[in-house]
Subunit: 409 residues, 2 copies
């Protein structure tokens, strides 16, 4: 069967890699944003260390030299398997011969969706820009308070979730708050700012080796972050967070705790796990439909150790390349090898010259891990221009502690 | 009289220069934004050629090394001359010994303020980011229309006002639309896009020499811009612009026609001209108050030729430096020399390697004027980092026609 038209939903790491790798078919890439976002650096925008344009790349520009790829900025409303089409908000339905679903996920509030307005997550550029605005305004208000009345209500940032995103956000906030922003807010004192990282489990970075979890927690504590382990959030209000019997007053709460796959997948009528991810076959297809694929953190795909693969960029990119290959070679279901993830290791940064890394048997922390982290992240950035830019921003930031990108509008 | 505390309202070119130049007094610089904006390049953000962070600089960072300057982000509600204080939205009233008012201006709609919602102006970063978003979405919609239905309603941008801002905006739109965006929107055709510059008077760039006005109009026409002279706008609706008996259908109208000084000045009870500017004495003070100054485009200050000085950055900067000097030297009204503007010439850019320039008896156009324009603008940009950045962006833009900064959020 010739796959004349491939529709791809989502221009993240998985969808983008698939679209780039498909050779002869007509490709329609649909995303609700006009850009591919380098999500692992989103916390740098949220903490005003990088500008939005530094970590995003217009999808149309990415595909200029791919005449077979057409980019559409639109919302996908539902998928109609029997009619072989996706329904769109702004255009007529789009027919497909094969479909690659890479719609990603949003934050999950474990049945308490009403918490979202007090504790927003950070998945899109809009999220990050809003967080940045709130943080900058909070600093302005605290400074104004100190300058006019001599006292300041404590400025408390609570980050819920001790995975890589939560750790990176807490570390970046501590640095921006205590070192970089310090000289700009002469009335603010060190003790006016408090950053609390809340994790329900017994350690942060649970996907990493236990020794690295301990090192990361020590580094954060040293930077002034309060790390609260075994702390399950039981309520979120406009004024703070409840943790069992404990109460943390805060109007700046960020949610980095759980994921829920895109609700678009519910229209597929395919089996899903408790996080809404579609349970895919070893060739990443859904039951009874060998030309509908689900990839990235929208897919529940078992790894070698029997547990689902994590929702990280390398998994999504390898899956995108794998699916593109099946389509390029027109492989029937019987001819397809199972998808196998080649694990190249994990990295999480904690701050300036502080990171933890894990590659097979190798464990690294401190400056070495941080340099590795920089190289890997810059290597992954899509455009040449962005690479140079991010690199120069970082070097500048490292040397001067004067992060730009703090312009509020 | 010792001027212990100087309050400055507005962190534009005038206020910023004054704050930097005052030596011993305590300075309070109040602005509603957290940044100084390089307004002459705002149209580059609106047309997605530069990013917001490239043309703005956080005020707090600018004044890190000025311990006598305190930056406040707040709205000034009114000025109370008898109590010697300004009233603020977010803080207690601020007392002053001397006051420098540099609040700038907004667009004027000649009594038709209801036009603003259909034909927004471009004065702040928020304005520019909104214009950019509308432009990018309009391109997406036109492309989608062409791709799905084969036809497209014509995408018409109307710019009202043939001064430097209108000319620069029209030229930048023509370039982005026809050259840089072309490859990204493969279905859009040249004839789908129309850019119309509307000027009420008999020529564009009325402040320049007549020969340069003609050259600029020719260059714009050559780039595909329709220049309509002697065209007074008589009505603006959500669907278009009325010009006498003529009607231009458009949902993308930008207002660059008139200025009205900040309404804050109305609370001063000082004489104002028809554009709301305060009519100042030769030492830039208001009647009966030798320590309240008005500078920049909020002031009606006569030049050597007997007409008011234009609302451009060099005037504001020279006035800021002049007033700072009076304060530094504690000059009584009798000791003060009159402010005298040293005219260093005028520049307006039309596009890539196209500009007009006028320095005393010298007239230049084309590439030479454009290079001059680049150098002057970069030279004026505040921070070292921004200078390097804007320069590298420009070189990149010139070489590749791949403007970044098109990320929509």
């Amino acid at each position: 069967m010739d796959q004349k038209r491939v529709v791809i939903v989502g221009g993240g790491f998985g969808g983008l890699t698939a679209a780039r790798s498909i050779r002869h078919a007509e490709v329609i890439l649909i995303d609700r944003a006009n850009h591919h976002l380098f999500q692992p650096l989103l916390y740098q925008v949220a903490t005003a260390a990088l500008s939005p344009g530094d970590i995003a790349w217009p999808l149309r520009t990415v595909f200029r030299s791919h005449p077979n790829v057409r980019v559409m900025m639109d919302h996908v409303l539902s998928i109609d398997r029997s009619m072989r089409m996706v329904r769109l908000q702004g255009s007529p339905p789009m027919l497909f011969d094969s479909l690659i679903l890479a719609p990603g996920s949003r934050h999950a509030y474990f049945g308490h969706e009403e918490w979202e307005s007090y504790a927003p997550g950070m998945k899109t550029m809009t999220d990050a820009v809003r967080l940045r605005g709130n943080m900058l305004i909070a600093f302005e208000e605290a400074e104004r308070h100190r300058a006019t009345s001599g006292s300041s209500p404590r400025l408390t940032f609570v980050i819920v979730g001790g995975g890589p995103t939560g750790v990176e956000l807490a570390g970046a906030l501590a640095e921006i708050g205590r070192k970089a922003m310090g000289p700009d807010y002469p009335h603010l004192r060190r003790e006016d700012l408090s950053i609390i990282l809340v994790e329900a489990g017994p350690r942060i970075l649970p996907g990493f080796d236990r020794t690295l979890s301990v090192k990361a927690a020590d580094a954060l504590t040293h930077m002034g972050v309060t790390v609260k382990l075994n702390s399950l959030v039981t309520a979120v209000t406009p004024d703070g967070v409840q943790i069992g019997a404990g109460w943390i007053p805060s109007t700046h709460i960020v949610w980095a705790a759980g994921n829920r796959a895109s609700p678009l997948l519910n229209t597929l009528s395919a089996p899903q796990d408790s996080a809404g991810r579609v349970i895919v076959h070893p060739d990443l297809t859904i039951p009874d439909d060998p030309w509908i694929f689900v990839i990235g953190d929208a897919a529940h795909c078992l790894g070698r150790n029997g547990s689902p693969l994590p929702g990280v960029a390398p998994v999504a990119m390898q899956q995108g390349r794998y699916v593109a290959n099946l389509i390029n070679q027109k492989l029937t279901p019987e001819q397809r090898p199972a998808f196998a993830y080649a694990d190249r290791g994990m990295l999480a940064t904690i701050g300036r010259a502080k990171a933890v890394a894990q590659f097979g048997p190798i464990r690294a922390s401190g400056v070495l891990a941080w340099v590795l982290w920089c190289v890997v992240h810059i290597f992954f950035l899509i455009g040449f221009r962005n690479r140079v830019r991010v690199m120069s921003e970082w070097v500048w930031y490292y040397l001067t502690f004067k992060p730009g990108a703090r312009v509020l509008y």
